[in-house]
Amino acid sequence: MSACFDEMKGHDGGVRPPYDELARWLKEVPPDVLDYRRREAELLFRRIGITFAVYGEADSTERLIPFDVIPRIISGNEWRLLEKGLTQRVKALNMFIKDIYGAREILRAGVIPDDLIFRNPAFRPEMSGQSVPHDIYVHIAGIDIVRVDADTFYVLEDNARTPSGVSYMLENREIMMRLFPELFSRHRIAPVENYPDELLATLKSVAPLTAGSDPNVALLTPGVFNSAYYEHSFLADKLGVELVEGRDLLVKNEIVYMRTTQGLKRVDVIYRRIDDDFIDPLTFRPDSILGLPGLMSAYQAGNVTLANAVGTGIADDKAVYSYMPAVVKFYLDEEPILKNVPTWRCREPEHLAYVLDHLPELVVKEVHGSGGYGMLIGPTASKIAIEQFRAKLKTAPTNFIAQPTLALSTCPTCVEAGVAPRHVDLRPFVLSGSDRTRIVPGGLTRVALKEGSLVVNSSQGGGTKDTWVLDG
């Protein structure tokens, strides 16, 4: 761990240029001021109601994600590289999903094995041969990025289903501006507040051709009990669109309507925050009461756009992820700008053998897993845990991939004992419209608050930071 790269101090302990001002400021500011502001921030979060729910914990239905008041800084040059890489990757993702549900050229070319797609639970046969408006599938992508040194960024995961966290990106900035106006006056920081406008423009650009000139967009939420409900209501508010639940909608003659105080109103674009499984009980899980019966028929008739499209989960699969460099090359004939973390696919015998031999030094993840659940972090796991995992791995190797334990970069963070380095990752949000790709500079930085911990997920005690992309 000692060898890991600190984004403020680099490897050698000097101060890297983007952090000049911040380092100076950190030296000036009395420790109790930081602590006081931290508590003030927490109060603000609670008052605004920026909470999330952790499933399976009855007594704490609404919790705060810890917020760290020290920002994470990315230079303009670093960001330009990330932006190019993200645009390239999401473009390839969209072409890949269109191909998988269409001509399947990538399978015929033997780049990806058939069974990885067809036997994948995230693959939706209902989408085969089905076109979607403007050929865009992943309208909103959250690409998780980690950094290991001054020049190397890796993509850790692609979230092409319903990535969340953007409300924290926006609220963190608002709160930082309230708490540290003097710090903002000492930096030139690219704004993120235009994200809702960019998102709305993206969603309107992908309306079906049958929609009018001003398409009606709605945000579909599973409801107040969903862990990300705050974000859903927050976004609907900023977008100025109705926040609907399944019961607010109905389908008549393959057209989706919402029930309003003035009768039925047609809905053209649905930004849905419900998983495929629950979206239409007539097509998918019949026991779902969250979705809208008949939605898929309207979708297949081309009368409504779903963002993201049905079936994009295939790209979230971690075994599919391992082929992304090849996917980029196949569709764009370009070298991938953002690297993948080297990945062993346990479905392949040689890979499995290697993984089984090196468990104590690897991170092993479930291919369909998310949220940091069900993974093994070799270097910190007990012997017993490793042996238990070995047994799981042998029974169902196709369910797992393994990666080296990365020395994730660290950022200065407020902890009990003052300011100390903690590991971080970054989730930028990439918007794909029919007109262009939009990325607001920055994203959500998640930080593992426990010393040495590499797990940044909020469900596992991770916190968040404001992410500053410096202008120029």
């Binding site: 008052r47 605004i48 209501s233 927050f234 508010d237 109705e242 029930r259 105080t261």
Partner: protein, 313 residues
């Protein structure tokens, strides 16, 4: 707007208004019950409080007799009572959470702040001082919420539906006080009891925050028929039946103006308002105060139903 959003806004306002009303009843009852018997007679004020709150059936399912302790608990803190102050604030907040997008930041801040603060009161205050503070806090919370809605909401259908909730609830509450206490308000010759009732009249006025207003309107000492006149017919008094219906009609008119069509709710509300405008107290006494009020309560319930039917589902 979404029917469900309108519904949530409407109920959010109703619950906040109801919480304030319950706090006023408890406040007035506490005053009455702490007076020497020689001034207020021997009636059980706590039972009367349960009746005015409109939850007698639920109350007597649990308790045999009404006293300060169990009524205060039931009306203010009980989770078993779906209309206690606590339950009202809980439901107001969950309605607010479901329609955050339709609330202004200030409104959310108020209702969420109230809800957070409510947790601090736990299972209820341990002393009368603390209870008084609690009741005052409930009224202030309602005022702050109402004020934030009034000062920050866009004047569109969301605002009108939230106002409708306030006035329907308020009309219902004032009518309930009248329904329970009507016998105290009958003209002199019909009344049994005599000057003992003076403090009862004051308590009635206090529960609709109209004690000072009374003196400004009539410049007279408390007379039961004037108390009735103030609470039923005086449009100047914000909690009178007439004033509530003036506001209900105004908000329904605004909605139908914006939507470009009229409906049954508006027609019903107008009919009640016209009758209130054309009534005089002596006429109401002649036909029977109790009958008048019972009919009013039924009509207001039916108007609530019509609003739901027409807009909220």
């Amino acid at each position: 707007m979404l029917s469900r959003t309108a519904d949530n806004l409407y109920w959010l306002s109703r619950y906040v208004e109801r919480a304030e009303y319950l706090a006023r009843i408890l406040d007035a009852t506490q005053r009455l019950s702490s007076m020497p018997l020689a001034y207020v007679g021997t009636s059980n004020e706590w039972e009367s409080a349960v009746l005015t709150a409109g939850c007698a059936t639920a109350f007597f399912k649990i308790y045999d007799e009404a006293n300060e302790e169990n009524v205060t608990d039931f009306l203010a803190f009980s989770t078993a009572n779906s209309s206690s102050i606590r339950s009202c604030f809980e439901m107001a907040r969950s309605n607010a959470r479901a329609v955050r997008t339709a609330l202004t930041m200030e409104m959310w801040d108020q209702i969420n702040g109230t809800w957070l603060e409510l947790q601090r009161y736990g299972n209820g205050p341990t002393s009368r001082e603390e209870l008084s503070r609690f009741l005052r806090w409930v009224q202030e919370s309602s005022l702050r919420f109402d004020g934030s809605a009034y000062r920050t909401m866009l004047r569109n259908d969301a605002y009108w539906f939230s106002r409708l909730g306030v006035y329907i609830e308020r009309a219902d509450n004032t009518a309930r006080i009248l329904d329970v206490k009507y016998h105290l308000l009958l003209p002199d010759n019909e009344r049994v009891g005599g000057p003992l009732d003076y403090f009862q009249w004051a308590a009635i006025l206090r529960s609709v925050s109209a004690l000072t207003a009374y003196h400004w309107v009539y410049r007279d000492s408390l007379k039961p028929w004037l108390v009735a006149d103030l609470l039923i017919l005086k449009e100047e008094l914000p909690r009178s039946l007439a004033s509530c219906y003036e506001a209900i009609v105004r908000n329904l008119d605004a909605i139908s103006g914006a939507y470009g069509r009229q409906g049954p709710a508006q027609r019903q509300a107008r009919a009640v308002r016209t009758r209130l405008q054309n009534s005089r107290m002596d006429g109401i006494f002649q036909r029977g105060l109790h009958e008048f009020i019972s009919e009013f309560i039924t009509e207001t319930n039916s108007l609530g139903g019509a609003i739901t039917e027409q807009f909220l589902i």
